[in-house]
């Protein structure tokens, strides 16, 4: 059993890492524990829990920025911002189960609002990270524009805890939009559903969700828009127009979150089988989804059609070859894919050739964590 440690401050976190480095103890970083499924699991000597790094450090509502500790739960942050009529415009999964800000950054979690509001990399203004050498380093700042020095926010985003522990983060935030509406339409084919989605992307509508879902042989497009009433109404009108052109009827959705929530939580709501996450060039989605849908074990496909992030759920009993074929197809189409969660022997999170630029990534890993104590084997470098 790994030893659990819960440092109460950024400095204590850095000291702990330094002691682990000295003793060559491997460390897994754990926030809400909602993403244990992600990345190769190898038992470590220590589990560093970030729950002691909690709370808002600074929030100036008029500046639309907020600085929080890395272990703060995302849901608690949103609740605090909501009392000021503001929100952090990220809608990542697992937030009801306790996903933390640091974990969301480390895993580069994103949701359907990415096309409209950006992903973690677009909203993160600054980070402080505890490093294995015992220091706490800051990158970026607390203002919305800053090009002084290297943009290490980007390096830490998606680094899966392999470079350091995110102890503090500053984000851009926004006022909560006054109006939200959603509607859905069912199409006869993958091509029709994605074509309708694409027509809406090529406008100034900037939907907050544009999701193509495949289940039970149906292709359903769910569209949500948020903002001032008039442009939101217009988005719904445009959906009706593009759907009608394909002979599809539109159904209004009274509670957008009740529909979008389960689509976002595909991993949590499909406890068995394999889930693949692919990032694709926009126009490759229809063919990719169609190919994935042909697999006899494919149960469910959820595509953020505006950002071309496609999740494929294979039912229990799917074999590693089927899963790896779907991963490889994404690569062939010019994108990338990983096993978001899989319980099949021999199925690695990251398969296929090393990422381009792996030698640079390895040098960076060695520079930040020379003894390899942090999250061994979890990242794409294996």
């Amino acid at each position: 059993m790994p030893r659990a440690e819960r440092p109460g401050s950024p400095e204590a976190c850095a000291e702990l890492l330094h002691a682990c480095e000295r003793d060559r103890h491997s460390v897994r970083v754990r926030g809400g524990g909602t993403k244990d499924h992600l990345g190769t699991r190898r038992e470590t000597d220590v589990t560093l829990e970030t729950a002691g790094l909690d709370g808002i450090v600074d929030h100036v509502p008029e500046d639309l920025t907020v600085t929080v500790r890395g272990g703060m739960r995302f849901a608690a942050l949103q609740a605090a911002l909501a009392t000021h009529g503001q929100f952090l415009p990220l809608d990542p999964p697992h937030t009801r189960r306790g996903a933390t800000v640091g974990g969301i950054i480390a895993a580069n979690s994103s949701g359907f609002g990415r096309y409209r509001f950006g992903a973690v990399r677009d909203l993160l203004l600054g980070v402080r990270a505890a490093l294995p050498d015992g220091t706490v380093a800051r990158a970026g700042g607390r203002v919305v524009k800053n090009v002084a020095g290297y943009d290490l926010n980007k390096l830490f985003t998606g680094s899966l805890g392999t470079l350091g522990v995110i102890v503090e983060a500053t984000f851009k935030i926004l006022p909560i939009p006054p109006a939200t509406r959603a509607a859905a339409a069912v199409f006869a084919s993958s091509a029709d559903a994605f074509a309708a989605a694409d027509a809406l992307v090529r406008t100034s509508l900037r939907p907050t969700a544009l999701v193509v879902e495949h289940a039970d042989r149906r292709w359903r497009l769910v569209v949500a828009a948020a903002g001032e009433r008039a442009p939101v109404d217009r988005a719904m009108d445009e959906l009706a127009r593009v759907a009608a052109a394909k002979g599809a009827a539109v159904e209004a959705i009274a509670d957008p979150e009740a529909t979008l929530g389960p689509l976002r939580e595909l991993v949590d709501l499909s406890p068995t089988g394999v889930i693949i996450r692919a990032a694709l060039p926009l126009s490759a989605q229809a063919a990719y989804a169609e190919a994935a849908a042909r697999g006899e074990r494919t149960a469910h496909i959820v595509a953020d059609a505006a950002s071309a992030i496609v999740h494929v759920h294979l039912m229990e009993g799917a074999d590693a070859v089927a899963a790896e074929t779907i991963v490889a197809t994404a690569r062939v189409l010019g994108g990338s894919a990983r096993i978001e969660r899989g319980a099949i022997a021999g199925l690695a999170t990251f398969s296929g050739p090393e990422p381009s630029g792996a030698f640079l990534m390895r040098r960076l890993k060695d520079a930040f964590d020379p003894h390899g104590i942090l999250e061994p084997a979890r990242g794409a470098l294996g």
Partner: protein, 483 residues
């Protein structure tokens, strides 16, 4: 203009270097005559330095061969786009080779179905949006120099522009890069999708000012052109009124696509040169734009106008035709050039502050100007809190005057840091502000950046003397700071 003190680094230089490069790449790709090199000793900022040679590569393979040669012979590599940079990024402060991308300026692909374009680094920013327009698309970042500046330079500096308030700066619009590292290795990072395995090296590289390697190909996002827009010029009796308006608009939950501010000195210069139609008696003006689908745009504009009136606006003018809109914008985009009417030289700062500190910091800028007896104009991205104080001076008075101007600039940057801001929002650190980096970052923060530098560029030949404080040049600064 001041020539940077020569820093001697062991390696091949001068005529011998030029001869080696001619043998390597052919004489048509190398400039070495003094009169040719003179054109490459300056950029848009105030420092100058002569390269030993200039190379005009035709493709990535040329750049890789050049880098291998320079690695072997200890020669610094300094990439250069159009030379419009405002922090000395393309100045060869330690000598060596300036790489001009004038011959690598093509659009390789407009991939409209994927909302991407693949371009060479020497492509002029505006040419990309022009080429994308028939597809109903454009490239968002629009620096004021967009008629001249290049995509390679935009990537190096992580450039912004007036319209990045709502839609993001260069880094938010780059998904793939091809690089040549300082040892000649060619690396492809990212692509047309939004995510690839491993660390986000594309994001890490953008804004690294040529110090991590040389960009040879760029994949960018293209964005659907807004269906419609509304442009408003609002004139106020004082800069405080204009500043409060900015906070009030943001506070009302409105994020315009652009929100630019100019003080009276700037509007007077602009009126004399461009004739944009700005009122000469206003203490400050705001140029505002909202865009998107046309539904609701007029309501939004009305709300903004009401906020402006409540903050004592003396005049509100909405552009009713594309021509009128272009005229209003021509004033803003031509503002830096117009300063030539007020003084022979200017030094522009690029500090960023939290929006709520605008009135306080702008008063400090006025105070600095008065204490130094220097005229300072302010033309800036108010919505982002990204200031551009233009300090006017007469360079013919010699290096002492330039130093005095830089000192005034430093006082402004110190205030930006004091209120929680940054020394640069979009112009970069370069060799102009590298001595100020310790104002913003601790030695620990700098050490971490150094690790990144060493991972990409272990030899240190990629644009040396930039971003990181250099012992030789920055000693003087610490003396100043100590006094």
């Amino acid at each position: 203009m001041t020539a940077a003190p020569a820093i001697v680094r062991a390696g091949l230089r001068g005529a011998e270097l030029a001869a080696g490069l001619r043998d390597l790449l052919g004489s048509e790709k190398v400039l070495w005559a003094r009169e040719d090199l003179l054109l490459y000793e300056y950029d848009g900022a105030v420092d100058t330095a002569m390269p030993d040679a200039v190379v005009l590569p035709g493709d990535t393979a040329d750049v890789a061969r050049l880098a291998r040669f320079c690695a072997e012979h200890g020669v610094p590599l300094v990439p250069r786009g159009a030379g419009t940079g405002l922090s000395g990024g393309s100045i060869p402060v330690e000598g060596g080779v300036v790489i001009s991308f004038a011959r690598m300026s093509r659009i390789l692909e407009i991939d409209a179905p994927n909302l991407r374009a693949v371009v060479q680094p020497g492509l002029v920013n505006l040419h990309l949006s022009t080429a994308a327009a028939p597809h109903g698309l454009y490239f968002v970042p629009d620096p004021s120099s967009q008629k001249a500046c290049t995509l390679g330079g935009n990537v190096a500096e992580n450039s912004g522009g007036p319209h990045t308030l709502a839609y993001g700066v260069t880094t938010n619009h780059v998904t793939g890069l091809e690089l040549v590292l300082s040892d000649g290795t060619i690396v492809r990072l990212g692509g047309k999708a939004l995510e690839y395995d491993g660390y986000d090296l594309v994001g890490t590289f953008v804004g690294s000012e040529g110090t991590l390697g040389i960009v040879t190909e760029i994949t960018v996002k293209l964005t659907p052109l807004p269906e419609d827009k509304r442009t408003l010029m609002a004139a106020f009796p004082t800069m405080d009124d204009a500043s409060n308006t900015v906070s009030a608009i943001i506070g009302a939950g409105i994020v315009p696509s652009a929100m630019e501010m100019m003080d009276q000195l700037s509007t007077q210069a602009v009126e004399a040169s461009v004739g944009a139609g700005y009122p000469l008696d206003a203490g400050g003006i705001l140029l505002l734009e909202v865009d998107g689908v046309r539904d609701g745009l007029d309501d939004l504009l009305e709300r903004i106008e009401a906020i402006c009136r409540a903050a004592h606006a003396q005049e509100l003018r909405v552009a009713t035709t594309a021509l009128e809109r272009d005229k209003l914008w021509a004033g803003r985009k031509g503002a830096f050039a117009a300063m030539g009417r007020l003084a022979s030289d200017y030094y522009v700062q690029d500090g960023v502050i939290p929006r709520t500190k605008l009135p306080q910091v702008l008063r400090h800028v006025i105070d600095v100007g008065e204490r130094y007896g220097l005229r300072i104009a302010n033309v800036f991205h108010a919505g982002d809190g990204n200031l551009h104080p233009l300090i006017m001076f007469d360079g013919s008075k010699g290096p002492a005057e330039v130093e005095r101007v830089k000192e005034a600039g430093r006082e402004i940057l110190e205030m930006c840091i004091e209120v929680g801001g940054s020394i640069t929002g979009e112009h970069g650190v370069g060799m102009e502000k590298n001595c100020y980096m310790p104002l913003q970052y601790s030695p620990i923060d700098m050490a971490v950046m150094r690790r990144v530098k060493d991972a990409f560029d272990p030899s240190g030949l990629a644009n040396p003397g930039k971003v990181f404080p250099t012992p030789g040049r920055c000693k003087e600064f610490s003396l100043h700071a100590a006094r």
